[in-house]
């Protein structure tokens, strides 16, 4: 908006400018409020552990006292976790986005009896507290479909049967080359779980988007002779690209940031995700190493922060939906 919010212009030159100054001062104050914990963490993270006195934690160290030692230590401590998180987040994000889009398409663009009922179940799924399903998930993933163990077996027997089918050795080798570790198998349960819990919000976002697409466009495509599948491929999917960006960003953040599911579903340390690792990083025999802890927090937050900084608007869009 290029003009003053109408009806709000304060009359009187002086009064107006003073109130503007007050306004900006307050808004800047809030900027400080929102940034200071982060800034303090940042300033602390580049202090030498030894120099860390706790005085004025928000002040950055003098340039010659700054060090990235905590960052590099934190990075290497969290490296496995970062990789595990990526191995988890990327497929879970893509899967939930794709399935969410498909669900939204099936429930919006083609209209039929009862779709609102089904859609309501999707929407309600967004609000389910994870606690409500933890115990069944534990039973499911440990006793009924213990994917976690299968890798152990497959490793024990070389390349082997994975419950149902053979894993081609080339596939395994390729995975190896790409840096996948056998223990990444353990993340499959987490990927599936996050996908299932991500679908509802993705479906919601996509449906809102699809509802805005004119019905006529789909009808035009039908008249043009395209099947439901082709319409999805050629019309809906290309038009979903901006929404995919929003959804991916949102899901990436959500899944990356989650702790609870990982805590319950990943019991082997090798496969622990970064949030799990971060919980007690920096506590050691020598006392809490605050610079390390803060550096670790930053490193763990870096991907989402980056996503946020680069795609701030899309993030806001996803969040506001």
């Amino acid at each position: 908006m290029s003009s003053d919010r109408p009806g709000q212009s304060d009359s009187g030159i002086l009064g107006r400018s003073w109130s503007r100054i007050g306004l900006y001062a307050f808004l800047l104050g809030m900027v400080v409020f929102y940034l200071i914990p982060i800034e303090t963490g940042l300033a602390t993270s580049i202090k030498r552990a030894g120099d860390f006195t706790g005085r004025n934690p928000y002040l950055p160290p003098l340039p010659w006292d700054a060090t990235l030692a905590s960052w590099s230590e934190g990075f290497f401590s969290l490296l496995d976790g970062l990789i595990n998180s990526l191995v988890l987040v990327v497929p879970a994000t893509i899967l939930s986005g794709l399935l969410g889009s498909m669900a939204a398409y099936g429930l919006t663009t083609i209209s039929w009896r009862g779709q609102v009922g089904i859609y309501s179940l999707f929407v309600a799924g967004i609000f389910i507290p994870y606690q409500a399903v933890l115990v069944p998930l534990t039973v499911f993933w440990y006793n009924i479909v213990p994917i976690q163990d299968w890798w152990l077996e497959s490793v024990a027997n070389g390349i082997s049967v994975f419950g149902l089918f053979e894993i081609p050795s080339t596939f395994m080798l390729l995975g190896w080359e790409l840096g996948f570790q056998p223990y990444h198998w353990q993340l499959i349960s987490l990927i599936i779980t996050h996908t299932a819990y991500g679908i509802p919000i993705c479906a919601l976002l996509f449906r809102a988007h699809y509802k805005k697409l004119p019905d006529e466009m789909v009808e035009a495509a039908r008249l043009d002779g395209a099947s439901i599948r082709r319409i999805y491929r050629r019309i809906i999917l290309p038009l979903s690209v901006p929404m995919f960006a929003v959804v991916f960003i949102y899901q990436f953040t959500q899944i990356w940031n989650d702790l609870l599911f990982a805590l319950i579903l990943v019991q082997n340390n090798e496969a622990a995700v970064v949030t799990q690792q971060l919980v007690d990083l920096g506590a050691s025999q020598e006392g809490v190493d605050y610079p390390l802890r803060m550096a670790g927090a930053f490193i763990a937050a870096l991907p989402t922060l980056l996503v946020y900084v680069v795609f701030g608007d899309k993030f806001a869009k996803g969040v506001a939906a």
Partner: protein, 386 residues
């Protein structure tokens, strides 16, 4: 090229509480090959529904639609050889103009790519949009989008064009340009066309024939002038023409028609047409009324009136007149269209002449026309001809 027949088609939607909405009620129209038929009617009368049934986007509850004599009720839209132009154009925003135009051919035919490209380019040239082929719809103006939507329909070389208010998103100036263009195009292509609009100007100006729907029921099918001058019923009479025809509900007493406000003598021939009716609806077009200032009622069909409101329109004026000498909120007025230079003023007393040859009479119960103005009779009397 084919003749399109709507044979007693009916469409019933089922409402929430299970009650039925009859959107289209037993409509019969025969559209000869190459005709430009305009489907017109007030909002919600079932125009779009009819069109969508033809397109196959809506099932047909009863009746049959035939294309070239062959029943197409069960054919999916893609197989009907019909192209449709939507009000919102429904261009695919992520595709270029060229891709938009190719899509239908790619999906519904086996045509090789080069051939498609050739056909598309040809059509685009014909439409004067060959320069736009690589643009996205968002980079086009409303009129250009319109042309692309048309081009997309044309390129498929269908038997029938369906158009659902294709011009209503354009501004007034562009609308009138596109109107002429569309009309010319259809003449050139000679493709049977069903065109939906709720704008009676479009209906009048573009069509070979008009089909007027009300509440799902077909009121009249005829040429624009037939509909204007020889409306089947009161609805058509009131719907076509701007400002609307004036109506007076009158009692038939011997050789005159009577309301509280005025008494209108009728000739023998007219009297015979209303035989057996106690009440009739008298209709008179505003342009058929002439107004004289400063004169006294001379004729049987001259009435003393007072000017309520004057709306100057430049070369014409709409004058709201009240019988007697009262004016104000509560008095019922009727409107006459007079020459723009007449300088009438609110409150002025004038004489309104309502010629008997120009009146329409309708049945008060079902609105059927009892007497219409006679088309033959008109040419001589028309004041515009000089």
């Amino acid at each position: 090229m084919a003749e399109l027949t709507l044979d007693s088609i009916t469409k019933i939607f089922t409402d929430d509480d299970g009650s039925d909405i009859v959107a289209v009620d037993d409509v019969n129209v025969d559209i000869p090959d190459g005709e430009f038929l305009v489907l017109v009617g007030p909002s919600g009368c079932g125009k779009s529904t009819t069109l969508r049934m033809i397109a196959g986007l809506e099932t047909i509850t009863e009746g049959e639609i035939r294309l070239g004599g062959e029943r197409i009720n069960e054919q999916p839209p893609a197989d009907r050889d019909i192209a449709m132009v939507f009000q919102s154009y429904a261009l695919y925003p992520h595709m270029t103009v060229k891709q938009n135009m190719s899509f239908g051919l790619e999906e519904s035919t086996e045509m090789p790519d080069e051939k498609i490209s050739e056909v598309v380019t040809e059509t685009a040239t014909m439409m004067g949009i060959e320069d736009l082929l690589d643009r996205k719809p968002s980079e086009l103006s409303g009129g250009q989008q319109q042309r692309v939507a048309l081009g997309r329909a044309i390129v498929r070389d269908p038997e029938v064009f369906l158009m659902d208010e294709p011009l209503s998103n354009l501004d007034a100036k562009l609308r009138s340009t596109m109107r002429t263009e569309l009309q010319r195009l259809q003449e050139d292509l000679g493709v049977t066309t069903v065109y939906v609009t709720h704008d009676q100007t479009e209906a009048m100006t573009m069509s070979d024939r008009i089909a007027i729907l009300n509440d799902g029921v077909l009121q009249q099918v005829g040429t624009p002038l037939e509909c204007y001058h020889e409306p089947n019923n009161e609805f058509v009479a009131g719907f076509i023409g701007e400002p609307s025809m004036n109506f007076f509900e009158m009692a038939v007493e011997d050789d005159q028609l009577v309301t509280e406000q005025f008494t209108y003598p009728i000739s023998e021939s007219v009297r015979s047409e209303v035989d057996g009716h106690e009440r009739v609806m008298l209709g008179i077009r505003p342009s058929a009324i002439s107004v004289e200032v400063g004169a006294m009622p001379a004729d049987d069909h001259d009435f003393a009136t007072v000017v309520d409101v004057v709306e100057p329109m430049g070369d014409e004026e709409n004058v709201y007149l009240a019988f007697g000498d009262e004016r104000g909120d509560s008095v019922e007025t009727f409107v006459a269209t007079v020459g723009g230079m007449q300088r009438l003023e609110s409150g002025q007393s004038v004489v309104a002449h309502i010629p008997e040859s120009a009146i329409h009479l309708f049945d008060t119960d079902d609105g059927t026309a009892l007497k219409n103005r006679d088309l033959e009779d008109l040419d001589e009397r028309d004041p515009h001809l000089q």
